[in-house]
Structure formats: C-alpha cells, structure tokens
C-alpha cells in the first residue's frame, strides 16, 4: 500500500518503479505455493468396488469413485500429481480377460501422471506388459531395472521432472528384486540394480543437475522387513539416502494409520507412505512452499 502511494506521488521515476513494483508484487503473490500429491499402490486390477457382503472390504474401493475424488481435489488445487507405486495388474478376472488393458485405460482417464512397475506387472510376462503400454497415457518410471536387452528398452524412464507453478518435482521409480519372486521366463533379461546405490545417484541428478524443489520416490520395494534384514524396504531406503522428501511405497500391502515420518542419512525428515491395496484408499500429501527464507528457517511443520 505504501509503495503504491509512493508511485502515485513521484511521477519522475514512475516508469521503472512501476516495472519494479509490478515484478515485486508478482513475486509476493506467488511466494506461497501448494503442490498436492495423490497416490495409490497395489490396486491389483480392482476396477469395481468390493461386493457389499465382502468379509474384508465391503463396498470399498472402485475406480469410478476414485475418479470423482481425484477430480474434486484437482479442482481445489490444479497443481496436483497422481502417482501409482506398482502392482497395477493381477487380482480380478479383468486382468485375466483383458491383460491389463482396462486398468491402463482407466488410469489414463483419471490422468495419472506416472507409475512404477511392480512384480505382478510381469504376470503376463514382460511382453504382456509391453503390449499394454499403448493404453497408458502416463509414464512408467523405474531407475533400478535395466531393461536394455528387453522389449521395454527406452519405454521406461528412470525419472521424470514435472513443473507445477514453477515448482520442479522430480519423481523416480524403484522396483523389487524379481529373482525368486517372478519366474525368470516372465521378466527375461531385466536386470535388477541395487536400489540404494541407484537412489543415491538419482537424487543427486535430480537435486543438482535438474534443480528439483521436491523429490519423490515411487517404490515397489515394500515398507519394511524386520525379519529379513538383507531385504531393502522403504524405511531402510529412507535411512540410507538424502534429499528424498517423500517415498510412496507398495508391495507389502501395508495399511498405515498415518504417513510415517522418519530420518534420512543426514537426519532430515522423510515421509514414507503406503495406502494398503486394491484402491480402497487414496493417499494425499500436500506440500506448501515459501520463498521467504525467514519463514523457511523456522523449519517445516509436518502434520500427519
């Protein structure tokens, strides 16, 4: 207000101050930004809601309901990403009859932005997955599967950078070791690489080279393996890496009472979330950004 008064009074310097004032104002307006991340995992071909008489999840889930929910959130905040952490396939006859075609088509209609690959997505073999790719209008991200000698070569990216309202969001994918879990005839020459090493490299790329403001890992590693220490879960991944803000998990069908807040290798907070399975929940994480260092220096508040 004061500035406006000043501009009105001093005509001599109007030209550059108007320019400056305008710019300043536009910065001020955009100083706070809001990014919404929505996510699913292990939907396993559950297109329709569970029957009303289902013993575990009566009348829960359903893609058509998820569509309504996603749409209303997108209306509220257009700066929204919708992500899936794998195991899209397998679990209802829809997969057996159509091989994943309907799953991909519906996810495209819901405007999914990216997904990673779960072990069950190889259930019709890597060729079966490849055959359905034309139905998916979103990207498949996987950084630790090397598909070089397979049909998926060049069709799966390690990461993707989304820009929403000037905020650069780096999303990368990680998959579980397929050996012992999936018949080698199904995944063929797919090479599994150490997810921690890969995550350390990719986060550097995203942070330094791509200059990302927000880094998200889409993981199908599983939440945590208390008994089998050699297996890498999301909590282990979080503790051995840095610069990841959010790990969206899958595979273990873990229902969390709320997103887990854990520490990374340099003691910063990392959010780990997973929303059970079969599309009966939608995860929602909201990130609020500010350019004001004074506000930021007070640290980020995490409300879960």
């Amino acid at each position: 207000m004061k500035r406006r008064n000043f501009i009105q009074k001093s005509t001599a310097v109007t030209a550059f101050l108007t320019l400056g004032g305008f710019s300043l104002q536009s910065f001020a307006e955009k100083s706070t930004k809001h990014i919404t991340i929505l996510h699913t995992n292990d939907v396993h071909s559950h297109i329709e809601p569970f029957p009303i008489n289902d013993s575990r999840y009566p009348n829960q889930g359903g893609v058509a309901r998820r569509a309504t929910l996603v749409e209303s959130i997108r209306k509220e905040n257009p700066n929204t990403l919708l992500l899936d952490a794998g195991d899209i396939f397998q679990g209802t006859p829809y997969f057996n009859f159509y091989g994943g075609e309907l799953e991909f088509k519906l996810m495209s209609m819901l405007n999914y932005d990216a997904a990673t690959i779960g072990n069950h997505d190889f259930d019709n073999s890597i060729d079966g997955l490849y055959a359905q790719l034309p139905h998916a209008k979103f990207d498949f991200l996987s950084a630790n599967y090397n598909f070089k000698n397979t049909v998926l070569d060049t069709h799966v990216k390690p990461y993707k950078v989304f820009v929403k309202e000037g905020i650069k969001i780096g999303v990368f994918g990680l998959g579980i070791e397929l050996k012992g879990l999936v018949d080698p005839k199904m995944y063929k020459e797919t090479k599994y690489l150490d997810p921690i090493e890969i995550a350390q490299d990719i986060t550097q790329t995203l942070k330094v080279d791509e200059d990302c403001d927000l880094i998200i890992c889409l993981s199908h590693l599983g939440y945590n393996y208390k008994q089998e220490h050699q297996k890498i879960g999301d909590l282990t991944l979080a503790s051995k890496t840095k610069d990841i803000d959010l790990i969206i998990g899958g595979h273990t069908h873990t229902f969390l009472p709320k997103p887990t807040v854990t520490k990374n290798i340099v003691g910063e907070n990392v959010l780990v979330n997973q929303v059970g399975c079969y599309g009966i929940n939608l995860g929602r994480i909201d990130f609020y950004f500010d350019k004001d260092y004074n506000k930021a220096s007070k640290g980020k508040s995490i409300i879960v």
Partner: protein, 250 residues
C-alpha cells in the same frame, strides 16, 4: 540513464529471484478412504460397463456339473474338493510331463489353504474355477529322493490337515508310525519320485520345505487354474468320493 537504472533493477530482481529457491514450510499427509460416500463418476462407470458385461458372461459359462457339494471340510485328512483338485491336476499334467520326459508323475500334492472356495451342487462355471484358484500359480514337477518323500509324509502327519493329495498316494497314520504306498508299492529308498505341485509350494509356500532344492525341477508352463478349467470342460459330470487315501488309523 533511465535505461541503465531499469536494467540494473531488472538484474537485481532476476538475481534475487534465482537465489531464492522455494522452501518447503509445511507438509500435510492423510489417507482418504474410497467408499460409498463418494459418488461414482458416471463416465467411468459407462466405460467399464461393456468390459464388465463380457467378463460376467464369460464367468457364467457352464463347464461341468457336480451332483454333490464339493468342499475342503467334509473329511478328516482328505476332502471331496481336495481329492478332486489333486486328481484333476494329475490327469491334466501327466500327459504333458510324459510327452516331454517319457516319465510319469508319481502323485500330486497341494495345500489345504490353497483351496480358496467350495463349489455348490449343480452347474460348475468358469467363476467357480476362478474362485477355487484365484492365483496365477503354475504346475511344476519336482523330482524328490525317497528321503524327501519321507519328509513330505512327516509333514502331512504333523499337519493333521486335509492337504490335497492325488489317489496314487495312500497313507495310513498309525499309533506308532504309518504305512505308505505309492502306486500300490512301498517306498523304494533307491528311487526318486516325481511329485506334481505348484510353483508357489515348490518355492517354500506353506513351509513345504521338502520341495525346495529337488533333484530336478520341471516347469510345465501350465497354470493350475487352466488345468482345472480344462478338466471341467472335458468332464460332463464330476465324480468324486472320499476313498481314504490319507487316513487316521490311530
């Protein structure tokens, strides 16, 4: 002069802008249930409809008929559905195995927990096959030493459960030990045996560890569910009985 001032100002702004990355100041996380409180999006429901109708039509296709209800709980150490499952998988898989190896499968064994649903008296449909076997498990043949067969028998005795076993195996659990016949013969310690099971159990599912590290492993590339469907297709009326293949004589 004015120009210089303007560009100077612009540079300052640009620099200021670039040097201030957006900081995360607040994160909120929650889980939103997808339930009946949310209306289904009509466009999506309409899109699903033709797929749904075709699946339903396919699933209701009648394959066979059973004059009695088939379930896994109508016997003590065997069951109507368990016997049927093991016998039909044997019947479908043995010709495949024989054509590839020139050998015959000795018997089939699955797990009680793997029978996911019973079949009511009347028509048997594709849906029944899917409910019985919702998983994509495939049939495998494991070649086991006689020692491993004895481990398998001990597992059965300790489990006290009606694990599906095909009729080629005959086991009577006695007070002190057991009597075992495979294809009407007592076990030969020098011989190896070919056992039909699923890839899931071979990998140690249900703690059937005797299937791990077999002498040889033969994959048949034949899904358990497809074997079930193929058997029903070629069988007008299913005939099954409790024949005491696995019984308690204590």
């Amino acid at each position: 002069m004015k120009k210089i001032i303007i560009s100077f100002f612009a540079i300052i702004l640009l620099v200021a802008c670039k040097n201030e990355p957006p900081y995360i100041v607040k994160i909120e996380g929650k889980q939103l249930p997808v339930n009946e409180d949310i209306n289904s999006k009509n466009e999506i429901e309409e899109y699903i409809k033709p797929y749904k109708e075709k699946v339903e039509k396919e699933m209701s296709t009648v394959l066979s008929y059973t004059p009695i209800e088939l379930n896994r709980i109508d016997g003590e150490l065997e069951s109507s559905l368990g016997n049927l499952l093991a016998d039909m998988c044997y019947q479908r898989a043995n010709p495949v195995f024989n054509s590839r190896t020139g050998k015959n499968i000795d018997f089939a064994m699955f797990n009680y927990g793997g029978i996911r649903s019973g079949i009511s008296q009347g028509n048997i449909t594709v849906e029944n096959a899917f409910n019985l076997m919702p998983f994509e498990n495939t049939l495998v043949v494991v070649e086991l030493t006689a020692e491993k067969i004895k481990e398998l028998v001990n597992y059965l005795i300790l489990a006290k459960r009606a694990h599906p076993i095909s009729k080629q195996l005959n086991l009577a659990v006695k007070k002190n030990g057991y009597t075992l016949k495979i294809n009407s013969k007592t076990i030969d310690d020098t011989k190896t045996y070919f056992v039909l099971t699923s890839d899931y159990l071979q990998n140690g599912g249900d703690r059937m560890d005797f299937f791990k590290n077999p002498v040889n492993l033969y994959t048949l590339d034949y899904k358990v569910r497809n074997a079930i469907i193929d058997y029903f297709k070629e069988t007008d009326t299913v005939k099954v009985k409790l024949d005491g293949r696995l019984r308690n004589e204590k």
